[in-house]
Symmetry: C2
Subunit: 110 residues, 2 copies
DNA sequence: ATTTGTAGTTACTAAATAGTAACCAGTATA
DNA sequence: TATACTGGTTACTATTTAGTAACTACAAAT
């Protein structure tokens, strides 16, 4: 997120929302989970995301220390991503969101 | 969120992110907490938010069933907001985010 | 008669986020 | 020689989100 009012807030909770409070990051973190995964796989697995947005979000996640990026000097290139300790520690929160949603979401059948 | 790919996703987790995955909603939910609060108070307490954005977000939170809005027919008008059961059930998740942030955030002193 | 107070709304503009399509490197394979 | 492969980048456009300032209603107090 570029909003400096969030990222430089004196409130730690606001800063936390500044790093994970958007729509793509929780999705990406959830898809990675506990595995090591390549860029192309993420691109293929996550519905609707574009390579541009995926690149941007991965970069921010890495900067914020949730993600580790390993680039192998091969051809064609291979780049692997996995969650850091910080990123892994966020997974239970995503699980809690799933449970919460399951319990309270009102499903409207179209 | 207006992104229909999130709100109409077949994946419940993606839909959940569609309702709370933005920067303002976690902040608003956290500020309301367990109390009953008026529009003007929210506007005063939440840093940087504008009345326009606050109105929009409150409306969406109400539509998604996280929030209850009580309008009293007085003059000047009085409107009170409080979290629904669903909204209250989301508070522990926000607490978990605070704990997570406290443990893992790397604080850079400017 | 004017100001105060509340909870907004409206029209317009600005900024942030996302989408599209083309392009790159360098080796391997057809 | 041309194409594929991977993990991007770039330039440009479109959409979404947010900010600004003015305005509304109605009653009470000044």
């Amino acid at each position: 997120m570029k909003d400096e009012r969030f990222c430089n807030s004196h409130c730690p909770f606001t800063r936390a929302i500044g790093t994970i409070g958007n729509k793509w990051k929780p999705i990406i973190i959830n898809v990675i989970g506990t595995r090591t995964i390549r860029f192309g796989q993420l691109d293929a697995i996550i519905p609707h995301i574009t390579r541009k947005v995926l690149t941007e979000q991965l970069k921010e996640l890495e900067e914020d220390g949730l993600l580790e990026r390993m680039a192998y000097k091969e051809l064609p290139p291979r780049v692997e991503y996995k969650l850091s300790e910080k990123g892994l520690a966020f997974l239970p929160i995503l699980e809690a969101i799933k449970v919460w949603n399951l319990k309270y979401e009102v499903v409207t059948m179209p």
